[in-house]
Structures are given as C-alpha cells and as structure tokens.
Amino acid sequence: MSAGISLLKRTAVEANTIFQRLDGRVKFLYFIWATVLVYIFYDPYLTLAFLIVTLAMAAYAKVFKPIAMTLLIIIVPWIILGVLILALPFGFPWNKTVIGYINVLGYRLPVYLEGLGWGITWPLRISVAISSALFFYLTTNQAKLVATLFKMKVPFKAIYMIIATFQFIPLLFDEANTIIQAQISRGLKTDVGVLQRIKNYLAVVIPLTISALNKVQTRAITLESRGFSAPVKKTFLYEARLTAADWAFLGIMAAVTVFLAWVYVTIGYSPVAHLQWIWA
C-alpha cells in the first residue's frame, strides 16, 4: 500500500538521463502510441516486446523499480487468476481449441487456447499502458509536467487540480497515519468483526475528512490572495521545447508505426501467436 504512496511522493532529486531530458509531450505521445498499438494487435508476444522495450528504457532512466513493483502487485495476480479461470473448463464461452492437459488436485483438465490467449493478452496490454504511463510520469519532473500540460492546452485551473492532487495525497496519507496511530493507542483493534471494522474505518475517515475540508477554505483564500485568478498569462519556469533527441525519438516511433502497419496488412492482427479474435 505504501508502494503507491511512495510512487506519488516525488522528490526534486532525480536522475538525469536522456529520457529525463526528452520533452514531456514526446513521452506522453509514446505512452498513448504504445497503448493504442497493443490494443490494435491481439498478440501476447508483440505486447511483451513493447513491455520489454518500455521496461528497458525505464531501467536506463533509473525508474525501473517502482514500475516493476506496480506490475508485480497488479498484473501478476491478475494473470494467474485470469488464466486459471479462463483457460480451464470453467465455462469461458469461447473456449474451443484444446492445447493440452494439466493435473489439478487429481483431476485431468483440458487447457484451452482461447482462454489462455485472452487471460494473458489482456493483462499484458494493461502492463504496457501502466509502464509507459509511469515511464512518462516518473521521468518528467513536476515543473516540466506543468509546462507540458500547459503546452497541451490544458487550462491552468485543471493543471492546478492535477498537480495539487499529487501533493495532497501524501499529506492526507501522513495525517491518516497519525490518526490511525492515535486511535490504536486508544484501543482500536484491526483483528475484529466486519461491522467493527467499518466503525474503525469511520473513526479514522471522519476526522481526516473534516480536517481536510477545513483546509480547503484557507488554501482557496491563500491562492486568491496570491493572484491565482489574476487575468494575466502565467509565467512557467520551464519552456517545453523539442530538441534533436526528441525528433530522433519521434522518428523511431514513426518508423515502427510504418513497419507495424505493414505487418498488420500483410500478416494480420496476431502476427506471432496467430490467435483468433474471440468474438469473430
């Protein structure tokens, strides 16, 4: 659970590799591009290739660990459970092709291609989306993120809301921890019945929320007093500008797009694994 928080809690100190220096818009485009492509194709191998490339870039940019952690928590259990239920004869309606048998608790069960392909491909697609998004997020520092969003014509109030959410989460989290510790020292137990656990939850969440809402007013007043609504063009500390490296990266993406378009037209949507669309 705190893995998520530490992911969101950014620090100003960070690595400075070529990927950190890439323009935020280029990395954002990469994440949209990779995600769309793995959704267009239906092929676990191709999807895996995207995942590996993304993770390799992440490793080079020294942000591999948080991404791998996230995938480990979200995708691995999903694949295990999904494959178990979908590929074995538990009623996945599109199962046709038996590709082998396994023994489960003394039963000999058939393994179906359709359920297996489905159960592996979907989580892998999501993995590509997660890792490319995190790659963008973790290698783009906040000031650059603001500049990037602004260049993408996101209104300033919306930018504020996005960035502020990232800042408020760790603050609220620390406060929640303080409240939980205080309640535990007053005798709150977590190994209790269901109803009591909901009551525990309320005992933490109500003071937390009230304190958070109390702060909203002051914060709004402070923003207003510091010219937040001034009808002028805001100054940003970073200018988003495309460099040669950005153009090179875009060029590679364009070349891969052309190549994959050719693959799609000549071989099809599942060029390596040769899966069939389930609904077809």
Binding site: L81, A133, Y137, M161, F173, I180, R197, I206
Partner: protein, 201 residues
C-alpha cells in the same frame, strides 16, 4: 454628528466559490485515494474509494463530485492501473450522478427504509450494469482478483455459461455492499461538517 449617521451598506456577491471548487476537487480526489488506502490498513470489507466522490457531490454539487472522482481515476490510471483504466472515471461520474439524484430526491435519511431501497437499487443493480459494460468493452471482462467476486464469477459462468451475466453478477456482488456503505459514510460526514463549507444547494 457624523458618528451617529448610519453607514450605508451595499450587498456584494461572492466570487470565492469558483476558487473553492478548484481546491475542493483535488481534495476530493485525494480523499478517494487515501480512503482506499485506509481500507487496506484497517482491513475494512469495502473498496472505500468512492465515498470521496459522493461526499464531493453532497457538499459541492454534481460537478465538484464528478470532477473529483474523475480526477482520482485519471491519476490512478496514470500511475497505478494503466491508461485504459481512466474510463473508470465515467463510473465515478455515474456515482456522482446517482448521489446527486438521491440528494435531489431528499434520500439522505439513513434511518429511512426508502433511502436504503433506493440506494441498494441504484448502486447495487443499476450501477453494476454500467461497470459491466466498461469492464467487458475495455478490459475484456473476466474475474476480479478479489476472492469472493472471483468465486461468484466462476460459479455463475460454470452454471449458466453466460459470460455477460457472470460479469454482471460479479460486479453486483462487489457493489451491493460497498456502495451503500460508502454512501452512508459520505452522508454521515456531510452531516458533520460546518454549514459554511456546503456549496451545493
């Protein structure tokens, strides 16, 4: 004497609400997030990540709740769940819409049976139809990786062979408890905060 002359008073209309909403929305989004994390810490039997949206709706109106919930989903999709999950943002908009409807119909009295009937009907059965459409269309459907819903899913699929029904009932099994409890939490909190924080009419 000048001192005794009455001061002439003017009525001024406030401009603060817009900026309060700008701060309230990320606060709601953050509450959704932290609410979900506290659930894990205290092992509460709910998801716990939508009462923020409901609370936002109750105190700030439909737009504040919907925007706060949507923002939460975008940020989660971006950092933790993967891009396609941003479509769950629409589920949060639906949550805000249902909450807003309940509020407009004055169904906020937790002691009334009518409230619970409406809450369970709307959040327990109508809302899962919506989430089922999203989960199949965007994520290919399939079991959730929480044990009880996954068991429901497998059981329904096994006995009826209906993929859609299995997904729907799986979602019903998670929402029918979670959302009414979340709604109760939101209503309780909303009733405890000072009136001047309430922007919604």
């Amino acid at each position: 004497m000048a001192e005794t002359k009455e001061i002439e008073m003017k009525e001024i209309s406030p401009t603060g609400k817009a900026i309060i909403a700008v701060v309230l929305i990320p606060t709601i989004a953050a509450l959704n997030y932290v609410g979900g994390v506290i659930v894990e810490a205290l092992k509460a039997p709910i998801w716990g990540d939508t009462w923020g949206t409901m609370l936002g709706t109750l105190i700030g109106g439909f737009w504040v709740g919907a925007a706060g919930g949507f923002l939460y989903n975008i940020i989660m999709a971006f950092t933790m769940w993967g891009l396609p999950n941003w479509v769950w943002g629409f589920a949060n908009v639906a949550v805000a819409l249902i909450t807003w409807f309940l509020m407009k119909m004055n169904l906020t009295d937790l002691k009334s049976l009518k409230t619970w009937a409406a809450v369970i009907g709307l959040f327990g059965f109508v809302y899962p139809a919506f989430t089922t459409a999203i989960s199949i269309g965007v994520f290919g459907g399939g079991p959730l990786w929480k044990p009880i819903p996954a068991a429901v899913y497998a059981a329904v699929l096994k006995s009826t062979g209906n993929f859609y029904l299995a997904n729907y009932l799986q979602n019903v099994s998670t929402e029918i408890i979670d959302k009414p409890i979340s709604y109760a939490i939101a209503v309780i909190i909303a009733s405890r905060i000072p009136k001047r924080f309430i922007l919604a009419k």
